[in-house]
């Protein structure tokens, strides 16, 4: 028997443990998982859309300048009626003067109150029959009829010349119904308990000159008195100076998004570097670093805000964004640093870090590979919350009068302005508040998505 060796030398099979799918880097993997998260992706699109809104928006043809004041359409809500009648330019009114009939005994109400000419948003002129014995008159205006509870509304003026029995009202007249009441005054300027009322319906008017200046017509010659024109279109209405809300929201986004995104990004970056250095190195360095952070935390924000404004020579006209940003970064990083340090202290004691260290991992590797990825969750949550808080800090500074300089708008200051008129003109509060909410929501959902995507432990579970 010729025994042949049926054994062959073992050939080292090198590809048994070959990874069949391409190796995914940490970030690539995170991106794949982020893409799978529909909410996070939508949020990302919203944020990009907001960016376009602020950069491209003002270039659109139907968006007027953010500083043009349309004093005929102050605080008008979206979709308000825009027709206006052409009238002659305003000319002062000499009024009506009569001989004062003498009289004693109790003052009576004027026999009648009448309208002189047409009631327009330019002026409402009223006159009344003289009251014997009256030494003057007080004129009231209300938006509803005074009867039955004698609600005369707001006093417009005192006419303290007895012979004058007329009054011209120009105060913020809207195209609506008004009720003017006249009360006679006695020798000491006190009201008699009687009044007479006239109701008036004001129409919106504009002068031909104004119409041309606003670009509503080509030349004044085309317009005759009594013609109707349509005032400028404001898609989202106007603010307290008749400025276009849409345009101001677009310009305001520049300030709010810039402050809201750049400031948190910067101070959290500083915080991560600082906190991880402190947490990882530990010992004396950690103590010195953290004491310095305590010191910064305790500095008064407002005072340093003012100081920075002066250090950076905030003169008239500068918007004051840069010093605000710097002040926020310089004064806000310690919170992030403390948070990161706390996490690092915790992770430093974890088993996998010790294992990695035993295997000879160097410090930078440990920080980059274990520390930062494992703190990402908390950091991202902090960032998504720092965005609204930065937007609000700007708003708070506007609230106490130290925000961006006018006429530069910001969502925070628009919110602040809108708050005062929220009962009468809610659109001035709702729109900026809505934009802040959308931004905050988008950042939050994106942050959530990122947290899940970047969480190294999630990786092993799929």
């Amino acid at each position: 028997m010729n025994a042949t060796l049926s054994f062959a030398p073992v050939v080292a099979e090198r590809d048994v443990e070959v990874i069949s799918r391409p190796s995914l880097s940490y970030w690539k993997d995170a991106w794949i998982r982020l893409k799978a998260n529909r909410r996070a992706l939508t949020s990302l699109y919203i944020i990009i859309a907001l960016g376009l809104f602020t950069v491209v928006g003002p270039l659109l043809p139907f968006v007027p300048s953010s500083s043009t004041q349309d004093l005929d359409q102050i605080s008008s809500p979206p979709g308000a009626d825009r027709t206006a009648t052409i009238v002659a330019p305003y000319a002062p009114w000499s009024g009506v003067t009569v001989n004062v009939p003498a009289g004693d005994g109790p003052l009576e109400a004027p026999a009648s109150v009448s309208l002189a000419g047409e009631a327009t948003t330019q002026a409402v002129r009223i006159f009344w029959d003289p009251v014997p014995g009256a030494h003057g008159y007080r004129v009231y205006r209300n938006i509803a009829h005074p009867a039955p509870d004698d609600a005369l509304g707001m006093p417009l003026a005192d006419v303290l010349v007895a012979s004058r029995v007329s009054f011209e009202d120009r105060l913020d007249i809207k195209p609506q119904d008004y009720f003017y009441s006249v009360v006679p005054l006695d020798r000491n300027g006190r009201e008699a308990p009687v009044y007479a009322t006239v109701d008036v319906s004001a129409v919106r008017v504009v002068t031909a000159e104004e119409a041309v200046r606003r670009g509503l017509a080509d030349s004044a010659a085309d317009l005759a008195i009594g013609d109707e024109v349509r005032l400028a279109l404001h898609l989202l209405g106007t603010d307290y100076l008749g400025r276009d809300m849409l345009s101001r929201l677009m310009h305001g986004a520049r300030v709010s998004l810039f402050i809201g995104i750049v400031a948190p990004f910067l101070f959290i970056l500083v915080g991560i570097l600082y906190g991880s250095a402190a947490g990882f190195v530990g010992g004396r360095v950690d103590q010195v670093l953290m004491r310095f952070a305590d010191f910064v935390v305790a500095l008064p924000f407002l005072l340093f805000m003012i100081l920075f404004r002066i250090l950076f020579k905030i003169e008239g006209g500068d918007s004051g964004i840069a010093p605000m940003l710097i002040a926020m970064v310089i004064l806000s990083w310690p919170a992030a640093a403390r948070l990161v340090r706390g996490q690092i202290l915790q992770i430093r004691e974890e088993g996998y870090v010790s294992a990695s260290r035993l295997l000879g991992a160097k410090t930078p590797y440990l920080v980059l590979r274990h520390m930062i990825p494992n703190t990402m969750g908390v950091i991202l949550v902090t960032i998504t919350f720092a965005v609204p808080s930065a937007i609000f800090t700007e708003a708070f500074l506007s609230f106490i009068g130290m925000g961006v300089a006018p006429p530069t708008p910001s969502w925070g200051s628009m919110c602040n302005e809108g708050l005062k008129t929220m009962l009468t003109h809610p659109h001035e509060l709702i729109f900026p508040a809505l934009f802040i909410s959308i931004t905050v929501l988008a950042f939050n959902l994106l942050g959530d998505g990122l947290r899940d995507a970047l969480d190294a432990r999630m990786r092993s579970q799929e």
Partner: protein, 310 residues
């Protein structure tokens, strides 16, 4: 432990000294001074005033006098309220801010931990979605809007019931505190809820929780001893700085609800450039904050045995 505490306290004193110095320098480098007023005053009257407040001395001497007085615990007399000592202002108004702040923090902390744990537990289910929606609302509305809306709601509420259920503004009784502390704590609570949720989600998938579970420990014990205790860590860390946020945010609430707290005095002092009140309140708040940070660090060591205090 005691050695560590003493060491931290000494460091704290140095920190406060730094704060005092930085504030002093910042304040005096801002143009204008507290003696300026709407109606201009003559050189002679101004000289009298400067002499009275010691502003005629060289700045370095003012600094020395100031530090010495601070060590003795005397912050001087306010410029804007010429009859009141800054010590009295702090003593009378800080407790009010503190009560408001403690209540707001308590509200925020308890609510945050509870809602955070709840949302983590019901992740992507109805409670999670509803609470997170409210949280988003809570953080996307500025505090001054909240304060104004909250007060308006109280007016409507009282008008609806025809009796005064909660006072609209003012200070003094428990009922005065509820609305402002809720408004003040809302933002922080939203923040803490999110933080708690995120840290809870990490903890429940950690090895030691799994181990504990497989060991068959009672769920309540796992929850309280392992999950909650660990998940609270990041929350405790941000509580310190949250106190700072609440004391400054308190200004708006104090203004709207007519509460005589210290926050109002501080903002007024900065706007009026009231040197002594700025210095007094800054150093006081600084010392307070530094102290809180030390307490938080000590708490940290107590909650998490892995963090060694040395």
């Amino acid at each position: 432990m005691i050695r560590y505490t003493i060491k931290r306290l000494i460091q704290g004193v140095i920190t406060v000294w730094f704060i005092a110095t930085a504030t002093f320098m910042a304040m005096h480098s801002v143009p204008g001074d507290p003696l300026m007023n709407d109606k201009a005053i003559s050189e002679e009257i101004r000289k009298n005033l400067e002499a009275q407040y010691g502003l005629d001395k060289p700045i370095i001497e003012q600094y020395g006098i100031y530090l010495w007085n601070m060590v003795r615990g005397d912050f001087g007399i306010s410029f804007a309220q010429e009859n009141r000592r800054v010590n009295d202002i702090i003593r009378e108004h800080f407790p009010i801010s503190a009560i408001l702040g403690i209540l707001a923090i308590a509200f925020a902390g308890l609510g945050g931990i509870l809602f955070g744990a709840l949302t983590a537990r019901y992740r992507n289910q109805m409670p999670d979605i509803v609470i997170m929606f409210l949280v988003i609302l809570g953080i996307s509305v500025p505090s001054f809007v909240f304060a104004a809306l909250g007060q308006l709601a109280l007016v409507k509420l009282n008008a609806f019931f025809g009796i005064s259920i909660l006072p609209v503004a003012g200070w003094g009784t428990l009922s005065h505190m509820i609305a402002p502390s809720l408004v003040l704590g809302l933002g922080t609570m939203a923040f803490l809820t999110r933080l708690m949720r995120s840290s809870m989600l990490e903890i429940v998938s950690s090895d030691y929780v799994r181990t504990a579970r497989s060991k068959g420990l009672p769920p309540t014990r796992i929850f309280l001893r392992h999950e909650l205790r660990n998940a609270i860590l990041p929350v405790v860390t941000v509580l310190g700085p949250s106190i700072a946020a609440i004391t400054t945010g308190g200004f708006v609430v104090e203004l709207v609800f007519a509460i005589p707290g210290l926050g109002r005095y501080f903002v007024q002092a900065v706007q009026q450039l009231d040197y002594t009140v700025i210095m007094g309140t800054t150093v006081f708040y600084g010392a307070f904050l530094v102290f809180m940070v030390i307490v938080v660090d000590l708490l940290y060591g107590l909650i998490d045995p892995r963090v060694r205090l040395e």
